[in-house]
Symmetry: C2
Subunit: 228 residues, 2 copies
C-alpha cells in the first residue's frame, strides 16, 4: 500500500483560519513537508504549528525567492523523489500550503511531479482572495459580477485591457509591480474603487483605500477593485 | 454596547471544511441567522450544525429561489431590522453563509443593510471555487495565469468574448444555463479543457470531464476551464 499525498491549504495567515479537516490530517500524517524561502522560515509551517505531531518527520523545501522560476523548479525536482520515497514506503505525506493549494499555490509543482504515480488529495483552504475582501470589509463580487484575477507580473497592455473590460478585479503578486499597477488604475479612473491589502487576517495586516497605500508592497499583497 | 454582526463562511459543504474561527464564533453567538429556501432546509445551517449552541436563538431568512431578485431582497428587508434589534440590545449575531460570505454570498445583502450602523466582521470561508478545483484534482491557476469568474447568467456574446480572451475560467451558477455554456465552450474548442462539478466536497458530489457531464445541472454547480 502506497501512502497518500495530501496538499493541505492552511489558509491566509491567521492560525484560526485553518479548517478542521486540515488540522486533523496534519496531526495524523507522519511526514510533513513545506516550502520555506532560502535562509528563512516557512509561513505555512508557522500557520500550522499547533497541529504538527511532535513525532512527525519534517521536510523543508528551500525555495529561492526570485523572478527566474528555474531555481525554484530545481528545488521541487529535488524534493519530489524524497517525498516519493515516503509514499512508496506507505507513509502519508502532508504538504502545507499557504491559502489554497491549487490557487496559484506552490503545491502545484509537487502535484505535477507526483500525482500521476500516487494517490493525491487536495484539502481546499481559505484563499487570500477571500481574506483580503474580509479585511477590506467590502464584498468581492455579487450577483452577475465578473471577477478577474490578474497577476501583477503581466505586461502593461494586457493588464490595461483586462481592467478596461469592467467587472471586479483582484491584482495579486504586487511586489515590485505596484507602481505599474497604480499607474494603470489611475489612467483608467479606477483608483477610487480600489483597496490595497497586505498580510490579510493577521493582526499586523494592512487594508486601505489604494490612494492611501504605501509606496512599496511585499510580494504577498493584493489590490481589489470593486465592480461598478 | 452594540453587538457585532459576524458574516461567517462555513465552507462548501463538508462540515470538516469549516474553520476553527468559524466554529468558535458560531458556538459563542447567542443569535444565529441563516437563509433557507422557502419551504426547504438551510444548507448553511446543516454544515454548521455541530457548532450551534443549544441555547442559541435561530433566525431563518426564507429566500424565494427564483430568477427575479425582488422577492429575495424583500426577505432581506424583513430580516435586517430583526437582526438590528438584537445588535442594538448588545447581542452578537452570527450569519451563516455557504462558502465565503463576500464571494457571491447572500450575506452581502445583510451587509448592505447593516454594516453602516453596526460593527461588522467577515470570517472568510473555503469557497466552492477552491473546493471544485480540489474535486477535479486539477490546479485552478498557476504562475501568470489569468483566472476569470463568470456567472452563467451572462448573455451569450459576453460569455463568448470573455472565454475567448484566454486564461483559466470558472463558470458559476450553471442551473438552466448549462446548455448555453456547453454550446459556447464547444464553439471555442474549450470542452476538452473543461471539468464539471456539483456538490463539491460532499460524498455524493460529482466531478467529471465536461464531455461526460449530465444534461441538467443544479444552480450550485460549476464548470472549470483550465488555462492553456
Amino acid at each position: 500500500m502506497t501512502g497518500t499525498l495530501y496538499g493541505i491549504g492552511v489558509g491566509p495567515g491567521d492560525p484560526e483560519l485553518i479548517t478542521l479537516k486540515a488540522a486533523r490530517l496534519i496531526a495524523a500524517c507522519p511526514i510533513v513537508a513545506y516550502p520555506a524561502p532560502v535562509g528563512g522560515t516557512s509561513f505555512a509551517r508557522q500557520i500550522a504549528d499547533n497541529h504538527i505531531s511532535s513525532s512527525a518527520e519534517e521536510i523543508v523545501i528551500p525555495v529561492p525567492m526570485q523572478p527566474d522560476p528555474a531555481p525554484a523548479q530545481a528545488a521541487y525536482d529535488h524534493a519530489a523523489p524524497v517525498i516519493a520515497g515516503h509514499l512508496e514506503a506507505g507513509r502519508d505525506v502532508a504538504v502545507l500550503c499557504e491559502g489554497d493549494p491549487f490557487f496559484y499555490g506552490s503545491f502545484i509543482y509537487l502535484h505535477d511531479r507526483l500525482a500521476a504515480d500516487f494517490p493525491c488529495e487536495v484539502v481546499p483552504g481559505v484563499s487570500s482572495l477571500m481574506a483580503c475582501s474580509a479585511a477590506m470589509n467590502t464584498p468581492l463580487a455579487r450577483r452577475n459580477d465578473i471577477l478577474t484575477v490578474l497577476p501583477a507580473t503581466l505586461d502593461e497592455p494586457e493588464l490595461t485591457q483586462r481592467l478596461q473590460n469592467g467587472g471586479a478585479a483582484a491584482i495579486i503578486k504586487l511586489g515590485r509591480h505596484l507602481p505599474k499597477v497604480r499607474r494603470i488604475l489611475d489612467q483608467l479612473g479606477l483608483t477610487k474603487r480600489a483597496g490595497y491589502i497586505e498580510r490579510a487576517s493577521l493582526d499586523e495586516g494592512t487594508a486601505l483605500p489604494l490612494a492611501e497605500a504605501p509606496a512599496t508592497a511585499p510580494y504577498f499583497s493584493m489590490i481589489l477593485v470593486q465592480a461598478q
